[in-house]
């Protein structure tokens, strides 16, 4: 039902609108399809490509972290071999400040260190990087449990590094590195103390921050070691990797693993878990892994941007294409078709001389050309009609007028006297000749009406003088039947714009009917009522009236009511048909009111410009 309704609505639209709708729809569908196709075909490519990219990124990140931590290990070892520190730790000295400064310089240059300490065998913190000094309360390493472990290891001659510890001196997560300091010039490699470094955790975070997306470092127990998503370190060593099965999988795989796991990272379609394999960290069994997730929007963001740019670019192109199609469609199809339609209308309105314009040889111009040929045919048919009417009228009237005048001559005095019976018969001949003449005239009018050949010549016409002239002609019959005339119009001049010949025929028909179908001694009333832009012309008689059953038939050709036939009056039965045709040709209306036995009134309303003046 909806389809049917919209189909008929579509059919009702103009061609240009239809074309416009089709093009716009096609365009929209194309763009959308383009979009969808591009988007969905690019996505896997992009995600794959990104996957490859991420693999590289995570490897690189892993390497960076690895190097970072290894370098710190080396830093401590190198510092531990500085003679000045060894001497101070072994033998003491007054150069503490200088050494602090030196250590601080090393903090800055080799960094990132939260703190570097040089501790002697007894555990006394002898030298420290400056920034730390303010914060520490105790000067003995034994008061710092995590550092103590490192110290003890170093003292025993083993270089040491810890796993991630919750807090160091700075209160931040840290890794503690320690290296033994050997006293020089002592036999048997005596250990004078240790260098202990608290690694600044921010450095790992910085590396992770360079990664787009969600990066997290976990240790092998599955505890978060570092991440780039949060500002504070509260989750370090407390947050656990969410999936123990996944954890096992990662740790046992021993190499980079690509996982897609929505549960771990909502919206993340790519999860790269890269087990830190190379270098320092895995060597010493640290075994962290980098879990890296990149949200899908981030992957697709560039392609979305590109898609948007593309569609914005396509829009003007499409508009250009639409515009061109519409432009050409209009000039080569719609406008010629419109012009042809207008030409058709002009021809229907009666102007048979109109022809369509023909410019070329395409389908539309061919149509116009054959259209013109058709109009040629119409025109010649039309001319044939006109020729027929005039030829027929002329051919019929010629012998009739000869007979007419011959009879008139005989009835006149010049050719000798005739006896009564001869006159009677001659009159009969004459009368019937007159009937034929009238019939020919009526038939001509009928064919003019039916073939649409009733020409109008509008002029200012005096209706009153037409009525007067017709009444003069009918004067004899009026007097013979003793009819009374009642004129209900002003004797002033009523000039209206009309066709005088046609108007005359109407008046003649109505008035002669009023005389013919009247009672002896009866009455004829003629009324003219001018109103706004119209006149109402009424003719009433006191005749037999018109039977109800004849009301419609009275307007038809050759109809004569029983009453009329009974009167033996002459009549062709064409009078009212012609009158109606002529009234309508003048753009008016005709109707009647009748009472059986009382009489009839015929009304003619004509739309005319009338000027009524005395």
């Amino acid at each position: 039902m909806v389809i049917l309704r919209s189909r008929s609505a579509f059919n009702g639209m103009k061609l240009l609108t239809k074309i416009f709708i089709i093009i716009i729809s096609a365009g929209v569908i194309s763009i959308m399809s383009l979009f969808v196709l591009t988007y969905f075909s690019i996505r896997p490519v992009l995600t794959d490509a990104t996957g490859e990219n991420l693999l590289f990124l995570t490897k690189e990140t892993v390497n960076k972290i690895d190097r970072l931590l290894y370098d710190r290990y080396l830093d401590v070892s190198i510092i531990a071999q500085e003679e000045i520190f060894a001497n101070h730790l072994a033998y003491g000295g007054d150069d503490r400040n200088r050494l602090n400064k030196k250590l601080e310089e090393m903090t800055l240059s080799s960094g990132p260190w939260d703190a570097l300490l040089a501790v002697n065998r007894k555990g006394e913190i002898k030298i420290s990087s400056f920034s730390v000094l303010d914060k520490i309360n105790s000067k003995n390493i034994k008061d710092y449990p995590e550092n103590l472990v490192a110290f003890e290891k170093a003292i025993s001659g083993q270089p040491y590094y810890s796993d991630v510890l919750k807090t160091g001196y700075s209160g931040k997560p840290t890794i503690i590195f320690a290296a033994p300091v050997y006293a020089r010039n002592e036999p048997g490699r005596l250990i004078a103390g240790a260098i202990i470094g608290n690694f600044a955790w921010g450095a790992v975070k910085d590396i992770l921050n360079d990664l787009p997306g969600h990066a997290e470092l976990y240790n092998r127990e599955g505890y978060l070691v570092a991440c780039n998503q949060s500002e504070d370190d509260s989750e370090i060593l407390s947050k656990q990797f969410q999936s123990p099965e996944l954890l096992d999988k990662i740790l046992s795989s021993g190499h980079n693993l690509k996982i897609a796991d929505d549960d771990v990272y909502p919206n993340a379609k790519i999860l790269e878990a890269s087990v830190l394999q190379s270098g320092f960290l895995s060597f010493k069994g640290l075994n962290w892994f980098l879990s890296y997730g990149l949200p899908t929007e981030k992957i697709l963001a560039p392609s979305n941007r590109t898609a948007l740019k593309l569609s914005l670019l396509i829009l003007p192109i499409m508009l250009g294409i639409f515009g061109t199609i519409l432009f050409f469609g209009y000039f080569f199809v719609i406008r010629p078709v419109r012009r042809l339609t207008e030409t058709t209308r002009a021809i229907t309105a009666g102007n048979l001389k109109t022809r369509a314009r023909v410019h070329g040889h395409d389908e539309i111009n061919e149509l116009a050309h054959s259209f013109n040929e058709m109009v040629d045919k119409l025109e010649s048919l039309d001319e044939a009609k006109t020729d027929f009417i005039s030829t027929a009228s002329h051919q019929l009237r010629t012998p009739l007028s000869t007979t007419n005048w011959s009879a008139e001559m005989l009835l006149g005095n010049q050719l000798g006297r005739l006896n009564e019976r001869q006159v009677e018969y001659l009159k009969r001949i004459y009368r019937n000749n007159q009937r034929m003449i009238k019939l020919v005239g009526d038939l001509l009018n009928v064919s003019r009406i039916e073939l649409g050949k009733l020409a109008l010549t509008l002029k200012p016409v005096n209706l009153v003088s037409i009525i007067k002239s017709v009444l003069d002609e009918l004067d004899e019959s009026i007097k013979r039947q003793n009819l009374k005339l009642r004129k209900k119009y002003s004797s002033g001049h009523l000039i209206i714009e009309s066709d005088p010949d046609i108007l005359r025929i109407i008046v003649v028909n109505l008035l002669s009917n009023a005389v013919k179908y009247n009672q002896p001694g009866g009455e004829i009333q003629i009324k003219i009522e001018p109103t706004d832009g119209r006149i109402l012309f009424e003719v009433s008689d006191t005749g037999q009236g018109i039977a109800k059953s004849d009301r419609e038939k009275i307007w038809t050709k050759f109809f004569r009511a029983k009453e009329a036939l009974a009167r033996e009056t002459d009549g062709t039965g064409l009078g009212l048909y012609i009158t109606k045709g002529m009234v309508e040709r003048l753009g008016g209306r005709i109707w009647f009111e009748s009472k059986k036995g009382k009489g009839s009134t015929f009304f003619v309303e004509l739309p005319v410009n009338n000027k009524y003046h005395e």
């Binding site: 002329h394 008139e408 003449i437 003019r448 020409a455 010949d501």
Partner: protein
Amino acid sequence: MKKILIIEDETDLLEVLADRLAFEGFGPIKCKNGENGLLVAFRERPDLILLDIVMPGLDGLQVLKKLRADDWGKGVPVIILTNLSATDEKIVKSILEYRPIFYLVKSDWKIDDVVKKVKEVLGIGN
């Protein structure tokens, strides 16, 4: 006696008209076609010409045209007697341009009235 030239191809009609005009005291000259009619017109110079339109050969329009092109011809009164209706004939409109003094449809006129008209045009009282 006034000379009236009648140019009409219908013999019967021609005879009837001529008879009637003779009875009225005019001098009718009969011509059955346009060419003849023109020749006679220029030769005889009648006081009035009764001219039919539809004729074989030179039709009424052409006769009138040629008549009006002549110095004498342009002033002679011409009554067009025809059976063509004014409303649907281009030829009628064209004829009227050459100033006939009157135009009447034969079958609509009594011969008495035609005579009256002739007398009126020639300025003869009743």
